[in-house]
């Protein structure tokens, strides 16, 4: 089966003005594709721009530069209300903090059905409630929960409500911004299993943003690593863990403690120092393919070196 591009991100930039002449380059020229039905993981440390990338893709922020194509349609181009609505239906988001992302004054049914109402997906009240009940069932909650308020639920249950809300409008693409970071280990597994199951059943495509690298590896087909607004490496999940090439990726992977005392006793941490590249003045960095499907941000000289080392 040929892989079909669902989302194309081209040289996306998101700069924030923070003072008179100060600019934070939160996202600084990144490009990648997401294929239909896959999960692309995006990892990096706080402040690297991974959440900003997600939010810019879905147009919560207007991009400073670059474009995002969804099924070939430019997300950031001028659109009629109708076109915008249609796009919003196909792209949904799940947020990190299940305590802050649900309106405390709305019942669960109204939270979930808000999208249904906006997009007119239910013709009658009965149909609307029927849909809400179905969604609650899909995410492992039940009918009785529909008339309650968010504060009556635990973190894991709230995240399920957030997922139900995203699913309500039958999206093709879901951006999950650290959906499990705020949850306990045993609940994390429940939510990840649910997301995987939904992907299988509905053919969803995910952009999964996280800093927990072991969960990202588990859920993702491919993983991109971000550092200071730039994508420094992109590869198959398995490949990235087995053969990290960029020194930052190596450092990041070497810093994760594994639940295995034996390996922990011998683990050596690699420290990344951005000056270790010794880039010369005017040397151009670009995202180059080292082995098939494995891209690294590097200079021409590094490219030759990596090529020699890894192929």
């Amino acid at each position: 089966m040929a892989k079909q591009k669902l989302l194309e991100v081209r040289n996306l930039k998101q700069y924030f003005k923070t003072g008179k002449d100060q600019v934070v380059k939160a996202v600084d020229g990144i490009s990648f594709d997401i294929y239909k039905g896959e999960t692309l993981g995006l990892v990096g440390e706080s402040g690297c721009g991974k959440s900003t990338t997600g939010r810019t893709i879905i147009r919560l922020y207007e991009a400073t530069e670059g474009e995002v194509l969804f099924n070939g349609v430019n997300v950031h181009a001028k659109k009629s209300k109708k076109e915008l609505k249609e796009l919003n239906r196909k792209m949904q988001m799940i947020f990190q903090d299940p305590y802050a992302s649900l309106n405390p004054r709305m019942t669960v049914a109204d939270i979930i059905a808000e999208g249904i109402d906006i997009h007119g997906l239910a013709k009658t009240k009965e149909e609307r409630m029927q849909r809400v009940y179905e969604l609650l069932e899909i995410v492992g909650l039940n009918k009785e929960h529909a008339n309650r308020y968010p504060h009556e639920f635990s973190g894991g249950q709230r995240q399920r409500i957030g997922i139900a809300r995203a699913l309500a409008v039958e999206p093709e693409f879901i951006i999950a911004d650290e959906p499990i970071s705020a949850l306990d280990v045993s609940i994390q597994a429940q939510v990840v299993n649910l997301m995987k199951k939904l992907q299988r059943e509905k053919g969803l495509t995910y952009l999964f943003i996280a800093h927990d690298l072991s969960m990202v590896k588990y859920i993702s087909d491919r993983i991109g690593v971000m550092y200071f607004g730039k994508l420094v490496e992109l590869a198959d999940a398995e490949e990235l863990y087995r053969n990290p090439i960029h020194p930052y990726t190596k450092a990041l992977l070497s810093a994760i403690p594994l639940p295995d005392p034996e390996t922990e006793r011998v683990r050596k941490r690699i420290v990344y120092d951005p000056s270790q590249h010794n880039y010369k003045e005017g040397e151009e960095l670009s995202f180059r393919e080292i082995t098939p499907g494995h891209f690294v941000l590097c200079s021409e000289a590094e490219y030759k070196q990596y090529k020699a080392m890894y192929t």
Binding site: S186, K217, P257, L258
Partner: protein, 353 residues
């Protein structure tokens, strides 16, 4: 080994308008000199309440130590007056909290905050205290300490702030350091630095650490022994190898199995069904029974006692009773056990800690 701290049958409840929340329901453990004991468990299992009780930081009311003892240097900390407790708190037992932003005073310089502890407990002159503060900042790896002590918390990054908090906690050479999720708010690379720093300082100063966390990777990295808590009780305790490679309690199995392992990608993650019990009305019998796929009839009737597995390893599950049927732990856990059998055969059953 020398015991530094003994917790015996500790019960703590919170009286709220809806009734009595039994947050800690009979916790016992010892802390030895120079060791790191990790306490793991989900939110609400009582791990933070236990640690705050050791420092007597829980406000009364609503909290209430119903029963039990905390023995430290021959004294029962639960019986001390606030004044007596102030002699111990910060000097002999100190604590690091999760969020370094909220545990530092934003209106005081870093230097004054560290000196405050020294002036209070060690009767140093201002000048001596200042020099000691500089030394401490050096110890926790902060460059230019002479300059840094004049700065405010907002001028430090998250990782640096946590270093300052550690410096404050270490100021009086405490015997016991309680670290309540000290790295949860930090990025992995910063977390790795802080963990290395803590281990390094422990080696130099020989204090005992109680490390509270829910991250099993961190536990494997820092702990000598591990106590697993569930619904206000310690359900399993043992050396780090015993807990990770030879766990006996189904809850520990569930925790270990719900972490994705690096080679099993296509299988569904093992997940513990349901949610922790409501401690306003703790269930009869074993509190874990409703979520336990291995639960037997007796689990709903009678609470299991601590069964002995080895001199260092105990678990509270009826599965260890001689009349219990043999059960198979989840596959991932079985694999861990096999590895353990192999490697302990090689090492002749040698343990750390």
């Amino acid at each position: 080994m020398e015991k530094v701290l003994e917790v015996k049958d500790l019960h703590i409840s919170f009286d709220i308008h809806a009734g009595e929340v039994q947050a800690v329901r009979g916790v016992s453990f010892d802390l030895y000199k120079g060791e790191t004991l990790a306490i793991v468990g989900e939110s609400g299992c009582g791990k933070s309440v236990t640690s705050k009780a050791l420092m007597r930081l829980l406000p009364t009311p609503p909290s209430r130590i119903k029963q039990g003892e905390i023995l430290f240097e021959g004294k029962d900390l639960t019986k001390l007056s606030e004044k007596e407790m102030q002699e111990i708190r910060g000097a002999k037992i100190s604590m690091i909290f999760q969020d370094p932003m909220t545990s530092l005073n934003p209106t005081m310089t870093i230097g004054n905050q560290i000196m405050e502890v020294l002036l209070k407990h060690q009767k140093l002159s201002k000048n001596e205290a200042r020099n000691r503060a500089i030394e401490l900042l050096q110890l926790v790896g902060i460059k230019n300490p002479e300059l840094r002590i004049k700065q405010y918390p907002h001028q430090f990054s998250g990782g640096m702030r946590q270093r300052v908090v550690i410096a404050m906690a270490l100021a009086c050479n405490p015997k016991v350091l309680i670290a309540d999720e000290p790295t949860t708010a930090l990025d992995v690379t910063i977390q790795a630095q802080i963990l290395e720093l803590m281990k390094d300082i422990q080696k130099k100063m020989g204090m005992s650490i109680i490390f509270i966390t829910h991250d099993l990777g961190v536990v494997a990295n820092v702990a000598d022994r591990v106590a697993v808590m569930y619904a206000g009780k310690v359900v399993e305790i043992g050396t780090v190898d015993e807990i990770f490679y030879n766990p006996k309690h189904p809850y520990t199995w569930g925790l270990l199995a719900s972490m994705p392992s690096l080679d099993h990608k296509d299988e569904e993650l093992y997940s513990i069904p349901g949610t922790p019990p409501d401690l306003l009305n703790p269930p009869k019998g074993d509190a874990f029974a409703p979520r336990n796929p291995y639960a037997m009839k007796i689990d709903y009737e009678l609470e299991p006692p601590m069964f002995k597995v080895s001199d260092t390893h105990y678990a509270a599950t009826w599965l260890l009773h001689e009349n219990a049927p043999k059960v198979e732990p989840p596959k991932v856990v079985q694999e861990r056990m096999r590895q353990f059998a192999l490697s302990s055969g090689k090492k002749g059953g040698e343990f750390r800690g």
